[in-house]
């Protein structure tokens, strides 16, 4: 997402130049991944499923009980391609975090509990450059503010006790949320399936990175960082079915583009989410 950026600031490699700028190896990649990071993991196939899913919407709802497992499996399958990229960036995070002096266990715990790539890369990057802990936390929280909006959109789909809803909400990442879009909102089963696959990939990748070091190479060399925006683009394409949704997309893109140079990483996405308000002015 967005955020990786922070890191990125330092390590970024645009073109390759920097890679070693910071922590060497993977850092660069990591950075970029940051965004993409984790979560990134999620989404995949949606584009397609998106359609099918939508079409099926009505029947699915009534058949819901029986289809629960099917929905979870569909979400897991949808996330699989992106999980590969998530694992690679998880490894980048592990390497970067260890270089930053976070040790072995803390980065793994962070991948399990925070489960948001850009924010994690931001923390490791700030700590690595000798920044204050408070600065690292502030940057990460900023990057994750959009999860307030994502959480609200996920809320109607979750059922059960408070603790269960809280737990399932943690599986929402940019990617899992994106692939779980169905007609009329988020599909809980797909969210859970996609989220679990991404979590396993992200944490597994982190463990490999922390323990395995830099032998894995830079995910960006394989173009994996381009998979995240490509996934979001594919999912977006399946949603542009009315003047209003198209207006929402244009508003989001324009706001993100215009504010990226002006605001700290993370905030442009939060403001862009508010672009949906503008689209309400457009006829359905």
């Amino acid at each position: 997402m967005e955020a990786g950026s922070i890191i990125a600031d330092s390590a970024r490699r645009r073109g390759g130049e920097a890679r070693s700028a910071h922590a060497g190896v993977t850092r660069g990649g990591a950075a970029r991944g940051a965004h993409a990071g984790v979560a990134r993991g999620g989404a995949a196939r949606g584009a397609h499923d998106g359609v099918a899913h939508g079409a099926r919407g009505g029947e699915a709802r009534s058949a819901r009980e029986g289809v629960v497992r099917g929905g979870v499996a569909a979400g897991a399958r949808a996330a699989a391609p992106i999980a590969v990229a998530a694992a690679a960036f998880g490894a980048s995070f592990g390497i970067l975090a260890r270089d930053a002096g976070m040790g072995v266990v803390a980065p793994i715990v962070m991948s399990l509990t925070t489960f948001a790539g850009s924010a994690q890369f931001a923390v490791a990057s700030v700590l690595d450059s000798g920044g204050a802990v408070a600065a690292a936390v502030a940057a990460a929280v900023l990057l994750n503010l959009r999860y307030l909006a994502i959480g609200v959109s996920v809320a109607p789909a979750l059922r059960g006790s408070r603790s269960r809803r809280l737990a399932e909400a943690q599986l929402a990442t940019d990617e899992s949320w994106a692939v779980s879009q169905a007609t009329g909102g988020v599909d809980r089963d797909r969210l859970v399936g996609a989220g679990l696959v991404l979590l396993v990939a992200w944490v597994g990748g982190t463990v490999a990175g922390v323990l395995g070091g830099s032998r894995l190479g830079d995910p960006a060399d394989y173009g994996l960082d381009a998979m995240f925006p490509a996934l979001f683009l594919a999912l977006l394409a399946s949603q542009l079915d009315s003047p209003r949704t198209r207006a929402a997309a244009i508003a989001g893109a324009v706001i993100a583009l215009a504010l990226t140079p002006l605001l700290p990483p993370g905030l442009p996405l939060v403001v862009a989410a508010g672009g949906a308000l503008l689209a309400l002015a457009v006829r359905r």
Binding site: E2, H48, A119, A226, F228, L233, A248, A256, T260
Partner: protein, 104 residues
């Protein structure tokens, strides 16, 4: 506790709260009508913003690099109605190739 653990705990707690606030406070309750009307528009809006920020965003800078080439390839694949795996493969392949060739 070291700084790393403080950061892990702080960011973890904040993220759990951010993700969980909506589901804990709103579940079992119909969303207010204006909010409900907004929800279907949140996805295209945020997805488009994510596409932009992850394709050309780099910290507070806008950059044109291999990611843009990869996403452009994905766009072409989408126009050709390629399956999602092909779309993602095109993005990664073209981005990797343009980096390898030093084009971006």
């Amino acid at each position: 506790m070291t700084g790393a653990w403080i950061a892990v705990a702080g960011v973890g707690a904040a993220t759990v709260a951010l993700k969980g606030a909506g589901p804990l406070l709103l579940a079992r309750r119909a969303l207010p009508r204006p909010v409900a009307a907004l929800m279907p528009l949140l996805a295209p809006c945020l997805l488009a913003a994510l596409v932009v920020s992850q394709t050309v965003g780099d910290g507070r800078a806008l950059v044109v690099d291999a990611r843009l080439a990869g996403v452009a390839a994905a766009g072409v694949a989408l126009l050709l109605r390629a399956p999602l795996l092909v779309v993602l493969g095109a993005a990664a392949g073209v981005a990797a190739a343009s980096r390898a060739l030093g084009l971006a």
